[in-house]
């Protein structure tokens, strides 16, 4: 048995060596006009639009599916139950999970330890992340506007709160979650980052439910100023964290170029 294995291994080794030799059996004299030809070759490069649309394909399907599910649930709730203010906190508590999905797309490179490799690609991580964030942001905005339109058209919220105020109620927990998850991503660099982000999202969602159910009249004019201030502060904080994230990516790119 041992002899047979030994024979098999040496046979395999021989074939491997032969295959290695075959790689060089077709060696050619080096081409003389290669660089000149490639430099002058006017081949059609991918346009900006093609690049952006190609990025949509790399966003995981679960992001789109979850967004659609949230939209459908809102639709079903509106048509099957009597719409009440509670619908706002239900929807606004679900929104942080949509933002978590979007953030997980950006943290994908860190999670799978692909940052260094992606930094050395033609379109670097910063560029790709910006484009994907843009696409996801637009998709989230479309979802938000769709839900807000549904709520204003099918309920009295539009009359009671107005479109902008409704947006404020839905967006504030979303922004709080964006800030929280970006804070985690900027400070933690490990495969466990997404678990912490998940914890932040659950906390934000639970906090939103708690506030909405425990604090009376939270969606009234009485607390309007608090919502406005929270919204503005969160926008500023989110922008700061985003700038930090992009700067970190630039630093990584600089480090990669130095060590390349």
């Amino acid at each position: 048995m041992l002899m047979r294995n030994k024979h098999y291994n040496s046979k395999k080794e021989k074939r491997f060596n032969l295959e290695k030799e075959l790689k060089h059996a077709f060696d050619t004299p080096p081409p003389a006009r290669k660089e000149q030809f490639i430099n002058r070759l006017d081949y059609p490069r991918a346009s900006r639009f093609e690049f952006i649309s190609s990025q949509i394909g790399y966003i995981r399907k679960r992001v789109w599916i979850c967004s659609l599910v949230l939209f459908m649930i809102t639709l079903i709730c509106l048509y099957s139950t009597k719409a009440s203010v509670s619908l706002i906190w239900v929807v606004s508590s679900a929104f942080p999970f949509i933002s978590l999905l979007s953030i997980s797309e950006i943290a994908k490179s860190t999670t799978y330890n692909m940052e260094e490799l992606e930094m050395s690609c033609k379109y670097n991580l910063l560029e790709v992340s910006l484009i994907r964030l843009g696409i996801l942001g637009l998709a989230n905005l479309a979802l938000l506007i769709g839900i807000m339109l549904l709520l204003t058209c099918k309920t009295d919220f539009g009359l009671d709160f107005g479109f902008i105020r409704l947006g404020l109620y839905l967006l504030t927990p979303y922004l709080l979650n964006c800030y929280g998850t970006l804070f985690v991503i900027n400070r933690l660099q490990s495969r466990e980052t997404m678990y912490f982000c998940g914890a932040v999202t659950t906390f934000v969602s639970a906090l939103n439910i708690l506030l909405a159910t425990q604090v009376d009249e939270i969606y009234t004019e009485k607390y309007r100023i608090c919502w406005d201030i929270a919204f503005i502060i969160l926008v500023i904080f989110c922008v700061k964290e985003l700038v930090k994230l992009f700067k970190k990516m630039e630093e990584l790119q600089w480090n990669s170029s130095l060590t390349a």
């Binding site: 030799e21 077709f26 050619t28 004299p29 081409p31 003389a32 490639i38 070759l41 081949y43």
Partner: protein
């Protein structure tokens, strides 16, 4: 893309050189292949497009011989590759390389082409099947046959 193009240029050049055995002509044909390809296809992608690139190269080589009436000389070996050897290790490498080259040249042309595509140009079985217009099963079968023949020849040579 530029890296890919550089890589593909070398591989197509190797393929054309294998067909025409002349450095200048092989490079002309390589460049013509890329010009024709980019006239019809937007970008080099993987999969069938790579097979398309090779098909253009193959047809250009056939056209070259058809035009010049040299089809009979298509596979005459004209090894001009300079292999320099400085020490004993290099000498032994040179000997092995020379023996393998000689053994490969004894194989039928289609098997030589198959070995070039598979081992020198590192193409996948699917891509080779597309280029050679044969089934995946045939590619496997021919590859095994080529390797067995090579081993027999090399064994006779004492390797």
């Amino acid at each position: 893309m530029s890296l890919n193009l550089q890589d593909q240029y070398d591989k197509i050049y190797k393929y054309c050189y294998f067909k025409v055995k002349n450095k200048e002509i092989a490079e002309d044909l390589t460049q013509e292949t890329f010009l024709k390809y980019f006239n019809r296809k937007p970008r080099i992608n993987r999969g069938k497009n790579l097979a398309y690139l090779y098909t253009i190269a193959k047809n250009l080589c056939i056209d070259f011989y058809r035009e010049r009436g040299r089809s009979d000389a298509l596979y005459v070996h004209d090894d001009k590759v300079q292999l320099q050897s400085s020490n004993s290790d290099e000498v032994s490498k040179f000997e092995i390389n020379y023996a393998v080259r000689q053994a490969v040249s004894m194989l039928p042309v289609d098997l030589q082409e198959l070995l070039l595509l598979r081992y020198a140009n590192e193409l996948g079985i699917n891509e080779i099947a597309n280029i050679m217009n044969i089934s995946r099963f045939s590619v496997y079968r021919k590859l095994n046959k080529a390797l067995d023949l090579l081993k027999t020849v090399l064994r006779e040579e004492g390797f």
